[in-house]
Amino acid sequence: MDQALFRLLMLRLRGGFRQRLIQLTSLRGLLFFLAFVGIIWLLVATNSSSSDMVSMSDAALNRQALSAQISTFMPISMLAMSLLTVALTTGPTFHFSPAEINFLFTGPFRRRDLIIYKFGAYVAGATLSSALIAVFAQGQTGSALSAFFASLLTITFVQLNSAVIVMTSQTLEGSRLARIRYPVIALLITAAAASIVYAWMAPDRSLFDLLSAFRYSWTGTIILIPYIVFAELFVSSSLSQLAFWGCIALLINTALLRAAIVLDARTTDRALSDNARESSRWERVKQGGSYWATQRAEVRSFRFSPAWGGLGPIAWRQALNVARNSLKVVAVFTGIAACAGPLIAAVGIPLSDPRVLTVIYTFFGFILPRTLVCDFRGDLSRMEIYKTLPIAPWRICAGQLVVQVLVTYVVVLSLIVSITVFEKGFVTSGALVFAAFALPLTVLIYTIENTIHLLFPKKLVPMGRADFEFLGRSLVEFIAKTIVILVAVAASAAVGFATFTTFRTSLVLPALASWITLALIVLLTLVLMQNAFRRFAVAETVD
C-alpha cells in the first residue's frame, strides 16, 4: 500500500478509537458500553455454563454434530449470500466518501493503491467484528485465536467475493451475457421454491435433507468448492488442519483482491457514479431519511391531503414516505413473512417451538422496527415542523403511528396466512385470534419504540462498526421493550384467565376480556407517548 495512504488509514483508525474513548467519558456512553459488554458477557457465560452442565462425551458429541452442520450448510449459506448480493446490490463495491473522492482521487495515487487502501480499511473493520465473533465461536474451533482467524478470513472472503461478482456483472453489462442475469436468477428462485414445495409435500424428507444431498453431490461440491474451504476452517480440529485451510483461504482472498483490482479498471466510470449516489443516500440516512429512497427527481404529486381532524396530514405524510422510500423493504418483509409458513413446515419444527417463537419475535420486535421506519424515529430533524403545527399532540402521535402500524400489520397478516395454509393442525379460528391480538401488540411495539425515542432521541445509524454506545443502547432498548411487552401480555392473559375461572363459559369471553385489557394498556402507552412528545425539546439553540 502507498505509504501516505497507509498513514491515512492509521490516522483514521486512531481517530475512530479516540472517538470511542470520548463516548466513554460521558455517563450515558459509559453506561451503554457497560450494558453492551455485560450482555455479551452474560451470553458467553450462559453458553459456557450450559456446555459445562452436559457430560464430556455429550459435549464431544454436540461438537461433532455442530461441525457436521457447519460443513454441510455453511457453504450453501455463503453461496446464497453471494447470489443475493448480485441480485440486490445497489451501491458501489468499494465505496469512497465525498472527502475521500476530494482528497484521494485528486492526489498522486494509482487506482489500485486506492482499492488496496479501501480494502485495508475494510479488513480493519472486519478484525473488530471477528474479535466479537471469536468470543462466541471459540467453543466450536477450540480456541479464540483459531476462531478469530477463521472469522476474519471468512468475512474478508464474503466482501471480496461479492465485490468480484458485482464487478464482473458490471463489466459484462451491455454484452450478451448480461441478458441472462435475470433469467438465471429466476431459474434459481424457481429451483429453490420447487425444493421447498417438494420438501413440504414429501412426508419423509425435510428441506435440510435436500440441501444436504445437494451439498454432498458432485455438482454441489464443484459449485461450492471455494465456500467449502471456509467451512473447513471453522471445523478444523487441529492446528495443522487450521494452517492448511487457512493458507488456501488466504490464497483465495489474494486472488479475489487481484481480480477486484483488474476488474475495477474496467468499471471506474460506473464506480464513480455509484459512489456519488451512495454518498447522497448516506447523507439522507444521517438526516433521518431512508437508504432506499427513490432516486427520481420528479414524481406525480398527490393533489390533496386528508384532514381527519389533524391526524390525516401526518398519516398521509408517512404514507408518502413509505410509498417512495420503503416500498421495496415492505415487499421484501412481506415476502419473507409469506415464506415463513412453508419454511417452518419444510424444516419440520412445530410453531410452538421456542426457537421459532424467538425468531418471529426478533423479526417483529427488532429487525422490522430497525429497518422500516416511518414514524417519529425518522423525523428527528423535522420535529420543529410538528411542534409548530396547530394540531393536538395526541393526534400528531396517533397520525405518526397509523402507517407504521398498518404496514407492519400487513406483514403480520401475511405471516399468519402463510402459517395457516402450510402448518398442519393450525386452524382458522386460531389464525383469527392471532390476527386480533397482533394488532394491539403491533401498536404497543411502536408506541414503546416512539416513546423511548422521544424521551431519549438518538441517531438511527451507528457511527461506524465499533459504535458500542449505539449497540449497547439498541440492546438495552430491545430488552426494555421486551419487558413491557411481556408485562402487557401477562396482564392480558391474567385477566383472560380470571374471566375464564369466574364465568366458566366458552373461550370467547375470556379472549375478549384479554383483548380489551391489551387495548387499554396500549392506550395507556399512547398517553405516555403523547407526554413524551409534549416534553420533547427541539435542539435548544441559544442564539
Binding site: 414524481v299 405524510r317 408518502l320 409548530t388 396547530p390 439553540t541
Partner: protein, 246 residues
C-alpha cells in the same frame, strides 16, 4: 397581535433570555438584532411554541402560546433558518400537507399563486431533496404563507437565496405587513432591517438593549459617513456592554 410580557428562558442554569417585554401590532415589522447567543432564536422558538418559556407570557393573536397552543399556532407562520422539509414529498405535497394541517379549504388557487410568486411553478412535482437550499427556503416560506397567518416569524429569511430570490422575499414580506400581518425578522443583515423594518429591537446577552421605531433609532444615533444609524446603534450598544463587562 404579538405581546410578550416578562419572558425569560433558562437552559440548565444559563439565562438565554431575561425579562423580555414588547409588542408588535398588525402591519408592523420588528427586526430582532443581536450578536450570536443574544437570544434571538430562543425568543422566536418560544413564540412559535417549539420551546416552553421558563416564565412570562407570550400571546399570539390573543392566544397564550402555553395555554392555548393550537389556537395560537393556527395564526402563526414560522420560517426557520434551516428549512428541514420532508424529503420524500414534492413541493406541491408540502402545500397540500400544510393546507390539511391548518384546515385551509380550497387551497389550490392560493398555492398556485404562491408557487408563481416564488418562481416554483416548474418545480411543483419535484421531490424537495433535489432542490437547492434557496429553493427549499422558498418552499418553507410558501408553506408558511399558505394559511394567511396573522403573525409571521422569520429566522434569517435570506440565507441561501440569490439576488432575485432576495428581492422576491422582501417584496412578499412588505405585502404581508401591508395586508395586516405582524412580522418579526431575526437576522444579522442590517441592510435587511433598514429596507423592511418599522421597529427594531437589539438584544445582547439575553436582554433588550434597545426597542423603538426605525425613526427613533435614526434620530438617537444619527448617521455617520462610514455607517448607518442602525449600524451605529448596534455597535454602540453591543460593544459598550462588552467593554463594560470586561
Amino acid at each position: 397581535m404579538i405581546t410578550v410580557t416578562n419572558f425569560s428562558k433558562q437552559y440548565k442554569g444559563f439565562t438565554a433570555v431575561k425579562d423580555l417585554s414588547f409588542s408588535v401590532e398588525p402591519g408592523q415589522i420588528l427586526g430582532l438584532l443581536g450578536p450570536n447567543g443574544a437570544g434571538k432564536t430562543t425568543t422566536l422558538r418560544a413564540l412559535c411554541g417549539i420551546i416552553p418559556p421558563s416564565s412570562g407570557r407570550l400571546v399570539i393573536a390573543g392566544h397564550d402560546i402555553a395555554e392555548a397552543p393550537i389556537a395560537a399556532k393556527q395564526n402563526l407562520g414560522y420560517i426557520p433558518d434551516d428549512p428541514r422539509l420532508f424529503d420524500t414529498m414534492t413541493v406541491w405535497e408540502h402545500l397540500a400537507f400544510t393546507a390539511a394541517a391548518y384546515k385551509v379549504t380550497g387551497f389550490e388557487e392560493r398555492a398556485e399563486a404562491l408557487l408563481a410568486s416564488f418562481e416554483l411553478t416548474h418545480k411543483r412535482d419535484t421531490l424537495v431533496h433535489n432542490l437547492s437550499r434557496g429553493m427549499r427556503q422558498k418552499v418553507a416560506i410558501a408553506c408558511a404563507f399558505l394559511h394567511d397567518p396573522k403573525v409571521i416569524l422569520f429566522d434569517e429569511p435570506l440565507t441561501g437565496l440569490d439576488p432575485q430570490g432576495i428581492r422576491g422575499i422582501k417584496q412578499a414580506i412588505r405585502e404581508r405587513a401591508q395586508a395586516g400581518s405582524a412580522i418579526i425578522i431575526s437576522s444579522h443583515l442590517l441592510s435587511l432591517f433598514e429596507d423592511l423594518c418599522t421597529h427594531i429591537m437589539v438584544l445582547n446577552l439575553g436582554e433588550c438593549r434597545l426597542f423603538g421605531t426605525m425613526d427613533n433609532v435614526a434620530s438617537e444615533f444619527g448617521q455617520t459617513e462610514d455607517s448607518s444609524a442602525l449600524e451605529e446603534a448596534y455597535f454602540t450598544i453591543t460593544q459598550n456592554k462588552e467593554t463594560g463587562q470586561a
